[in-house]
Symmetry: C2
Subunit: 144 residues, 2 copies
């Protein structure tokens, strides 16, 4: 269940009746690039900042009145909580997506994983490795 430790848990969510402006406000407030659209805990769609650019601004829709049902992606790629970070990254790169909702056995939404989450984790792992090397060198009196 390593993915749930890396991901945003709980995910930022809005109901399917939410407007684009409400979805944007939720993304900006939580500093994320995507919201999950949920109904009774189940994932119904995803809406990202790229969708704001293409499906709203470029398509000249009104962000104050356009609802999630009109602009969300409903065939959402998801990943199981038991998958590895490597599997998640491969899936994102293959599918050209930056966000993967993490879902449970019954399709319930557990969290939202972003490429940024995965990279941040990689950097932390590398930092820990460096610290371990430093400690080893220090203990041996080689450091400096």
């Amino acid at each position: 269940m390593e993915l749930l430790k890396i991901a945003s848990v709980p995910a930022t969510t809005v109901p399917k009746e939410a407007t684009v402006m409400e979805a944007i406000n939720a993304m900006v407030k939580n500093r994320v690039g995507a919201v999950a659209i949920v109904e009774q805990g189940y994932l119904r769609g995803i809406f990202t900042e790229r969708d704001v650019m293409i499906r709203v601004v470029q398509a000249r829709r009104n962000p104050e009145t356009t609802q999630m049902t009109e602009v969300m992606t409903t065939t959402v790629q998801t990943i199981a909580a038991s998958a590895s970070p490597h599997e998640a990254l491969s899936q994102m790169l293959e599918q050209h997506i930056r966000h993967l909702p993490i879902t449970g056995d019954k399709g319930q939404l557990l969290g939202m994983l972003s490429i940024r989450n995965l990279l941040q984790r990689r950097v932390e792992d590398l930092s820990h490795e460096l610290e371990a090397v430093d400690a080893y060198l220090g203990a041996d009196g080689i450091g400096g």
Copy 2:
């Protein structure tokens, strides 16, 4: 000069008089998440899909009439073409940015590097390593 082989070269650019809609059209056409604003070959600013969401839609600016000068970031983080991919990734993660313009000695714009470019390269490197291992196992008759 490894970064220039990984990055988008040339970068997607617009003049500072371009409107938000023109910048969006350029981003969508070239499938990138940021445009560089240039004047006579020199970098003057950067504008990203996140800026579309926050500085245009949330700020209720008109994308048809708002020009780059009103919404671009002018204090732009850049990286030299001679830097390593690792340095570039560290800089992006530390600064919480997804794009780094690559500039030359005199500040001229050479290309645009994205986190996606770096990840794609990593995946290609790993694939080549796997192929090398496969070839080795095959040559030894261990494969299968």
